[in-house]
Symmetry: C2
Subunit: 393 residues, 2 copies
């Protein structure tokens, strides 16, 4: 177990109807002017927006709104948000949505706290020194941004998608009502399931030794998500399945499953190039295409861990004579699971051809100079090889 720091200060309120109390919570913390940040109009249609403004109005908290956050949130709207908050003397940002909305809110907060362009901070790897308070009403179980220290922003100039992680980026509170996710589409639910599993798997598949405690916790989480995922896809208004996915989204990305480990997130890094370049690609869909290919490429460098995954998560019987069969069967079952929840597992399904592989691999490795860390270093060539394994027929 490697040394680590662990800090998850986000106050979580979980359960039916909790979002009604968001105004009280903000008032208790002494804030007076809120930016309500959200995506498309779905939160208005679903009545969530009305619930939130009633809760704020009841406590005498004034607010302004900024909607329009797209999947893969764009720096343009973030800059607009910063100006709006400065003009309106906003002292608290309330993200009402999923990962993209929360990440956009975190980026606005980053810019406000430092009075600086947040894209400039991300690109130049400038560590935050201050925080601007961000709270969450969660409407999508996926990214885990509601408790995480991370955020991802896209700059359409150059089609770059980049992340910055820091404990100062953790939301101060998160209201999580699983009912608010009943209306999430089957496809977005599937994307969320993949994202949750991948946040755990990127931390699970590392070179580190003596990680049994966290590996077992991670395996338990993966099995529970797998089972709940099947139910949520079939019965979108199954409270227990939605609740399991929602709480698992936070636990898989708040740091817990990475304690004592050094995780490099190679699949996420490859995926960021895919959805950075092809804006129509949902993050979860990119991950479900890339994970099986990555796993088939690297499993032989840590076959014991892939066998353990197959046995403990997928109930594969251990083949001691040919452990590679066990390892590959585990990867196969994961891929089949993704298919069973209607997620793509090939580039063809994403509508992406081989002609873009070179450019994506180039960006992903900073022109070949910075190979991705994984069980082996993944340079430009290796990444192209992995992309090719995911082409599809």
């Amino acid at each position: 177990m490697l040394g680590f720091e662990y800090f998850t200060p986000t106050k979580v309120y979980f359960g039916r109807g909790v979002e009604k109390n968001v105004g009280k919570e903000i008032k208790k913390r002494g804030y007076k002017k809120v930016l309500i940040h959200y995506g498309g109009g779905s939160i208005k249609k679903a009545g969530i927006f009305d619930t939130v403004i009633k809760s704020l109005n009841d406590e005498g908290i004034s607010w302004v709104e900024l909607g329009g956050v797209e999947p893969n949130p764009k720096i343009g709207l973030i800059r607009e948000g910063i100006k709006l908050c400065q003009n309106e003397n906003v002292d608290f940002i309330l993200a009402v949505g999923g990962g993209s909305v929360i990440d956009s809110a975190k980026s606005i907060g980053l810019g406000l706290a430092h009075n600086r362009d947040p894209w400039d901070m991300i690109i130049n790897r400038i560590a935050p020194e201050k925080s601007f308070p961000v709270g969450v009403v969660l409407t999508l179980a996926a990214a885990g941004s509601e408790m995480s220290n991370s955020h991802v922003v896209t700059n359409p100039e150059g089609k770059l998608k980049r992340s910055l992680n820091h404990d100062l980026l953790r939301p101060v509170f998160a209201f999580m009502n699983p009912e608010l996710t009943y209306t999430v589409s089957k496809f977005q639910t599937g994307c969320g399931i993949v994202d949750i599993m991948m946040h755990t798997l990127e931390r699970y598949f590392t070179k580190d030794q003596d990680t049994d405690l966290i590996d077992r916790i991670s395996e338990g989480l993966l099995v529970a998500v797998k089972e709940a995922g099947k139910v949520a896809i079939k019965e979108p208004d199954n409270y227990e399945a939605r609740a399991t996915l929602m709480w698992a989204s936070s636990l898989s990305h708040n740091g817990l499953t990475g304690t004592g480990k050094n995780a490099f997130f190679p699949v996420h890094k490859m995926e960021h190039e895919v959805s950075g370049m092809f804006d129509h690609v949902a993050h979860g869909a990119g991950l479900s295409v890339l994970f099986p290919a990555w796993a088939k490429y690297v499993y032989k460098y840590h076959i014991d861990k892939f066998c353990r995954f197959a046995v403990n998560v997928w109930n594969v019987e251990m083949n001691f004579e040919h452990p590679e069969y066990t390892a590959l069967e585990g990867i196969h079952r994961m891929e089949e699971y993704f298919k069973s929840i209607d997620m793509p597992v090939t580039f063809k399904e994403l509508g992406i051809g081989e002609d873009s592989f070179e450019e994506m691999a180039d960006k992903c490795t900073n022109g070949g100079k910075d190979p991705l860390k994984s069980y082996i270093d993944l340079g430009k060539e290796e990444i192209i090889e992995i992309f090719k394994m995911a082409v599809g027929n």
Copy 2:
């Protein structure tokens, strides 16, 4: 999954040598005068005290010390600590030790924050409204008090041991170096293993439905602790085993394993009467005596859960025709495990006779008026029955 609140703001620094940075951390937070609170002289012999004062001195932080915390920490020393802090203008309490020392520090903080006798607050169930900052250098993996919201205090007058839980009682930071637990005796290590497992089990065995996510995480934690426990007992200086126990001690009691559940801690409540009345009884030893008896008394009221426990934690094969055999075999293996790490499983081993059962059961139920909640209500008679099942030959 029941609705819940979750809040674990304690900043954790985990790994070899982390305690050297405690002075820097306190300075960063702006405190100037520290009470170093500890138990017997073992931290001085082991050099931990010297490391801590060097770290404080290096940062120019002044300090006073108060040692002498006993297992089952006493209100007398706590009152002494409050006076000392007031006289010395202490603004930060640093607990260097295990659960008893941390709980004693929390109680001193409670008294200082409210300028009121903390025993009076505990007995009258007065909810804290303010906090006084407490930090931890952990030297024992057991109680989980380093991240928990709870603390337990003993009043020798009336031999009462009582707890009070509140989020304001969570330490602000915890430095956890598994090496500091190498010198913990075999018996105290065993007590810690039992305490860690019981913090998870008291939350695992509840009536709540649809708790698969947390149940699986709990089962993973229990298996990892079981395996690491065996190693730590045989090889006291095995870093990985000590690290697993240490991080599991926090995770089992910081609230995670109780999310979505309503846990009543019946075994802990019975044990508090035992070690409250018999000061020579270590908390972990009391728990290892009481859990098997409690489980054998109540398993039939939720046989599915006891079967799941047997299968997932103890690898018992499910007997579908006679599920009670499976359930009982799981309890039996737990009891055998306690024996294998030299923990007592009978009152006889604790030197306690049946003549005290009536009084303990009476105190535990407030004179029979407040039965303990569990799978069934446990009144005075039921508790005496459970005690009798643990008498021993």
